[in-house]
């Protein structure tokens, strides 16, 4: 039996492409077969996701082209602040606003994602203050540091750690 071929080397350099219709935002993440951009420079309270299976295709939202490719946008309540972080896997994504967290579950069809706000106090206070490790999301709110796992939030910095900063 021959040995399997080793994986390719590190990506060293490749062609860079500007995506003309892709939005610029504060954060991005891969969710299932989509690339999602959040905190759009045109609307910091919204997210937008690409055509299914093609991160280079960003149809204009609410057009027939977008609907046929399950591409779309979603706005979140402005009272909870900007969208500052995203974390996704093959089934759902977490959308972090400055003072809230929503869960977006893939349902397909014309709806594509179903969104539910399940936390209306702790959020990701600023873009860049979030990191995903396996199925855990570590983030910082205006009250301290937390871990989100299986829709449950743990206050990991409660006490001395949060009081130290």
């Amino acid at each position: 039996m021959t040995k399997p071929t080793a994986p390719s080397d590190n990506p060293s350099e490749g062609n860079s492409y500007t995506v003309p219709t892709a939005p610029v935002g504060l954060c991005c993440a891969t969710v299932r077969d989509f690339v999602v951009v959040g905190g759009l420079n045109t609307d910091r309270f919204s997210i937008q996701w690409s055509a299914i299976g093609d991160p280079t295709d960003w149809p204009i939202p609410d057009t027939d082209d977008a609907r046929s490719k399950q591409s779309g946008t979603q706005s979140f309540p402005t009272e909870f602040g900007w969208v500052t972080g995203l974390s996704g896997n093959d089934f759902y994504m977490y959308i972090f606003q400055q003072r809230a967290i929503s869960k977006g579950t893939y349902v397909g069809g014309d709806v594509v994602f179903s969104f539910d706000i399940f936390e209306e106090d702790r959020g990701c206070i600023r873009h860049g203050m979030i990191h995903t490790i396996d199925d855990m999301v570590v983030f910082e709110s205006d009250r301290g540091r937390h871990i989100l796992q299986n829709d449950q939030i743990m206050d990991i910095g409660f006490g001395m750690t949060d009081d130290s900063y």
Binding site: P7, S8, D9, N10, P11, S12, E13, G14, N15, S16, Y17, T18, V19, P20, A22, P23, V24, G25, L26, C27, C28, A29, T30, D33, V35, V37, N41, G53, D54, P55, T56, H127, G128, M160
Partner: protein
Amino acid sequence: MSRFNFLNWRPDLEDTEHDGLTVAQNVIHDVKGWEPAHLGSAGSFSTTGSLGASVATVTSLVAKGVGPFGAQFCAWLANNQINVGVNGITSPATTTGYPLSFSTAGASQAITVFDVCEYAGKIFFTVEATQTEAIPSTTTIIRHTGYLDYD
């Protein structure tokens, strides 16, 4: 591994900064206890190759790990331009607007937004850089979204 001698418990004292504590420096917590932390030494930017910018002109740099083998996707400001690449190597500029430049040279420039994700053999990124001038008081922002192909 160093061994610490635990003294008598002193619950009457504050949690921090009292003489009942042993201070360990340059260590990092490990599952087996405490291991020495190996401090890095200052490096320098290469002035050859694709980066082609002196240390003095690189005003801001951010990086995130990509791929399975520890590669770093970087975005940096040099010569008033946003550059992106893997492990500091850029691809040739295209006619579609990459890299982006501030229209006028400024003294206060920084990358303020940066995020990366990977899908289907592509590194997708969003980056934003801000230039702030005091006199006259102006703020200029340039933004770029794009992707790099894996080799």
